[in-house]
Structures are given as C-alpha cells and as structure tokens.
C-alpha cells in the first residue's frame, strides 16, 4: 500500500484549494468575535492562524469544523459545508481542550477513534507517525503532557485525513516536546494534506507554516510567508525625548511608526517624548544622535509579540484611514 498518496480527492478544486473562508463574521451575543475573515488552504500547505488570546482563533477553527455556522460569509471544505458526514470523514482534529479517558491505553484510544473512519491508517502506522511506539501500552492518565498531545495527534491522523485542524497543538509543552511534535506535523503535511493550526507563538508559526495569517479582534491584520511576517514584527522600540520635530520623525525612512507620548509644546523643555518603531535600531540611533544634541532619556527595547500584534493592528487601522481618505 502506498503511504504517500492520500485517497482520491474528487471535490478538490483545480487550483488545489481544500478550504475556503470568505468574509466570515460571527458574534456571540453582542460580542463580535470574527469580523470579516478570508483565508484559503491548499493541499500540502500548512497555514498558521497566529494571534493573541481572545483574537478569535478557536472560534474560526470551530467554524471550519462545523460546530458554529457563521453569521455572514461562507466556509467550504472540499467544496462542501463543514460538518457534513462526508466532510467529517476527510478531516482530522485536535481540539484545544479535549482530554481522553484516563484509564485507556494509548493504543486502545487510537484504535477506538480509528473505527470511525472508512479507510483508517493502521495502528502501527499511526503510533509511528505520532512517535508513540514506546508508549502504546501506557494508560493515557500516566502520560506526560507532550505524550498526551501525541495521542491526540495520532487520533487526528486516524482517518488519513485530507485536512487536519490543530487548535493550539503545543500549548503548555516544553521546548523539546514542542519541537518533536512540529516534525511530526511537517511530516504529515508532506504527504499532501492541508493543515490549519492556531498558535500564539510566532516561533511556532515560523517553524511550521508556509503561510501565516495574523488575526486580532476577529480581523486579519496581516498575511504572508513566515519571513514576510517576521520582518513586519521584528521591530525595535526606541524610547527617547528629542527636539527633532514630529513631522520630520514621521518622514524618516528608518522609522516605521511614531508614537508620541508628550508633544514638545506640552513639555517645558521643547522636547517631544516619543516611541519610534524601527527595524534598524542601530542606524536610526546613529542618525538621531548626530542630528539632535539634546536627545535624552534614551531606551531601546525589543518589541514583544504583543507589541508586534499591536503594531500590525494599528498599522492596519492607519492604512484603513488613509484608504478611506484617498
């Protein structure tokens, strides 16, 4: 039996798109959780949905699984509605919070879930693909956090799915456990399946994904390859008080964004207190120090992921405004 080939994919569109999300909106009561999400997943592609907690990642996954129906917009898997039995036969799922029966052995759990599928992979294959051979006889309750996630991963692959959804697959795992699960996920994508995973670690999205979709407050704030996204978020913050006029800072080629904390006109000493976001902190500092003899209170900080998301969100907001103005 060929392991490299997935079962026939007759409903896949010509360009290899397995999942299509168009303009999806959803609210829980008055809380708008998703606010116009677009994304595509192709065969063999790993797409990471990256965002801070509460960004709407899990809601998006739950919609792809057919648990919720979007208020507006459309979701299609293999050209069909999520949640249909034919669709469910072709997907694999790792939910963020789904614990297995503690008293069952790893192999018993994998076997149990395999029976749901028409063409399941063999128990041996699944244990091997999830790196569980040595833990097959252990009860789920006795496994480490990483091993439990591996059991859930093996279960996700049970039906040899064309698409796999992994909701925060490595949250709570140590670095080593995380890395080794990554290699198993990559190996499965190589067989030609589309994989969607959510994460709030940029590192994870970077290590795994071909395409990253950054969402925040239910909106896509950036899409791109890992290197494109990393470039956008690898910003440094330069905190300082300077006599350089704000307009000039805005026009500076090395500065991505200016956050003014206190204008020169408001401070007694004619210095503007501001935070400058840049990808080239050293060059910017050299230039600023040369231009401005009065520059003081200088601090350089790496922008954390939260700041990076914020930067992306606000950049997005600014662009929106500019577009509206134009």
């Amino acid at each position: 039996m060929s392991q490299q080939q997935l079962h026939e994919v007759p409903t896949q569109s010509a360009d290899g798109i397995l999942a299509e999300v168009t303009g999806v909106e959803h609210a829980f009561g008055k809380l708008q959780v998703l606010n116009g999400i677009d994304m595509n997943v192709k065969a063999g592609q790993i797409v990471a949905v990256l965002g801070p907690n509460g960004a709407g990642k899990t809601t998006l996954i739950n919609m792809l699984l057919g648990i919720y129906t979007p208020d507006a917009g459309r979701i299609q898997l293999f050209g069909q509605t999520p949640g249909d039995l034919t669709v469910r036969q072709r997907i694999g799922v790792m939910l963020q919070q789904a614990e297995m029966a503690e008293t069952l052995k790893a192999k018993e759990l994998v076997r149990q879930f395999s029976t749901y599928y028409q063409n399941p992979l063999s128990l041996q294959q699944l244990l091997q693909m999830a790196g569980l051979e040595e833990k097959a006889e252990s009860r789920y309750g006795k496994l480490s956090g990483g091993e439990k996630r591996r059991v859930q991963f093996a279960i996700a692959l049970a039906g040899e799915p064309d698409m796999v959804f992994l909701d925060e697959p490595t949250t709570g795992l140590d670095v080593q456990a995380r890395r080794s699960l990554w290699s198993n996920i990559k190996a499965y994508a190589k067989r030609g399946a589309g994989i969607v995973l959510t994460t709030h670690y940029l590192e994870e999205a970077d290590a795994l994904a071909d395409q990253i979709i950054v969402i925040d407050h239910g909106k896509v704030v950036a899409t791109g390859t890992p290197s494109q996204i990393k470039q956008r978020v690898s910003l440094k913050q330069v905190h300082c008080r300077t006599s350089v006029p704000v307009e000039q800072l805005h026009l500076h080629s090395l500065i991505e964004r200016v956050e003014v904390e206190k204008l020169a006109s408001q401070s007694g000493d004619n210095l503007t207190q501001c935070i400058l976001l840049t990808q080239h902190a050293e060059a910017l500092l050299r230039d600023l120090l040369q231009q401005d003899q009065n520059l003081t209170d200088l601090q350089v900080k790496g922008a954390g992921l939260e700041e990076a998301f914020l930067a992306l969100t606000q950049n997005n907001a600014t662009t929106d405004k500019q577009e509206q103005a134009a």
Binding site: Q96, A98, T103, F113, T115
Partner: protein, 252 residues
C-alpha cells in the same frame, strides 16, 4: 459515501461499548461500589441476618433493584458530565462518529454492570440463601430489572448535562440513597410506617421494585400497569428535560 454502511455502524457501536467497558472497569471509584455494595448488603441483610420466611427471596429482588440503579445513574450522570467538561463530547461531535454510538455505549455499559450485579446476587441467593425460583421467574426478574435501568439512564443523562463532573457524584448520592431507602429497597416496604409507605409512590424506584417483586408475588398489590405507566412517564419527562439541555449544549 454519505452514509455509513450498517456493518460499519455496528462496528463503531460495538467498539464504543468495549471502550466504555474498559474505561469503567478500570475506574475503581465506579466499578467497586456499584458491584460490591449490592452484593455486600444482600449478603448481610438478606442472607446472614435474614433467615426464614422468604426474606432472602424478597431482598434478592429489592437489592437487585437497588443494584441496577447505580450504574445507570453514575455511568450516565458522572460519565456525561466529565465527557462534557473534558471536551471529549465536543471532539466526538466533529468526528465522523454517529452520536447514537455515544448513548448506546453508555447504555451498554450500564446493562453489562447490571447483569454482573444480578448474576452475583443470584449466585449468593442460590448458594448461601437457599433461594429457589423457576427458570421463568429468573428470566422475568432479569428482564424487568435490565429494562428497568432505562428510566434511571434518562435521569442520569439529565444530571450529567446539568451538573459538572465534581458535583455530579454528590447530586446522585443525594437522590439515589434516600430514594432507595424510601422505596423499600433496603428494608421491605411493608415493615415501614404507613406514612413512608404512602410517600414511596413518588419514587420511580418503588414502582420498578413493585414490578420486579410481582415475579415472586410479593408486591403490594397495586395494578402493575400503573407502575409501568408511571415509569414510562418518568422516563419521558427526563428524556425531554435532557433533550432540551442537550440542544442548548450544542448551540452554545
């Protein structure tokens, strides 16, 4: 491909029952009390302290009734509550498993445990209590008590949907133990004060016990059809309540 073949459906249902059995028989907190309590109680009160005048016979039936209610209430109540809380139910819903397999597994588990309880009681009754029944009586007794688990499965399902895994055991014990006593499952109903005898009719366990006792002609003499109707009504009410809770769960 849009529907599963009958053969595949059967396989899934059997696999779910098997997994549920393995899971619960390896959970001493569930398996030991549900199996041992009815056997122990019957051994003490029915056999050792209860010699003579058909006590062993009567209590075989009443402790049998007591016994089979346990796995129904705990299996469904605690089982559904923890599956729900652990996210397992949510996962099974998105996988291509027919939801019927989930309930069939829970009912199957309950019937397996109920059968073990009844077999153990029957052996104690015959070997140590000197109880002799006709084959037809044994079959009727087992039949009534196995089908009789269903109303309590419905009640357990309702509790499992409405309470969390930590509180479910307490809720069930608070219902189960007083109900068992007041329905005359521990001490024969006819030796209880008249007031308690009148109160007993509100409990489904009383009606199931009366149906089972009719097999050895020791029931109180109320019409059997009445007991049956009340049990059916009780089942329907709890299924309706559970059903609305179940839908709320899904739509949340």
């Amino acid at each position: 491909m849009s529907t599963l073949t009958l053969q595949h459906q059967t396989k899934i249902h059997l696999q779910e029952i098997w997994s549920e059995w393995l899971r619960m028989i390896r959970t001493p907190m569930f398996a030991l009390p549900t199996l041992l309590f009815p056997w122990m109680f019957y051994l003490f009160f029915g056999v050792i302290f209860g010699r003579g005048s058909g006590t062993a016979e009567y209590l075989l039936v009443s402790y049998g009734t007591f016994g089979i209610i346990g796995p129904a209430l705990f299996g469904f109540g605690v089982g559904v509550a923890s599956d729900r809380q652990q996210g397992l139910l949510q996962l099974k819903r998105v996988l291509p498993m027919p939801m019927s397999a989930y309930f069939v597994a829970k009912i199957g588990l309950c019937l397996i445990f109920a059968s073990c309880i009844l077999l153990g009681l029957a052996i104690i009754a015959m070997v140590l209590g000197g109880v002799r029944l006709e084959l037809l009586q044994w079959l009727l007794l087992f039949g009534i008590l196995l089908v009789g688990t269903l109303p309590f499965c419905a009640m357990g399902l309702f509790i499992g949907i409405r309470s969390n895994a930590q509180s479910a055991p307490a809720v069930i014990n608070l219902l189960y133990l007083p109900m068992a006593f007041l329905s005359g499952l521990w001490i024969p109903i006819f030796v209880m004060p008249e007031l308690l005898q009148k109160i007993a009719v509100v409990f489904p366990a009383y009606h199931l016990a009366q149906l089972a006792l009719s097999v050895i002609d020791k029931h109180q003499g109320q019409p059997l059809l009445g007991h049956l109707m009340i049990l059916l009504l009780f089942t329907a009410v709890f299924l309706l309540l559970a059903g609305s809770g179940w839908r709320a769960l899904r739509d949340r």
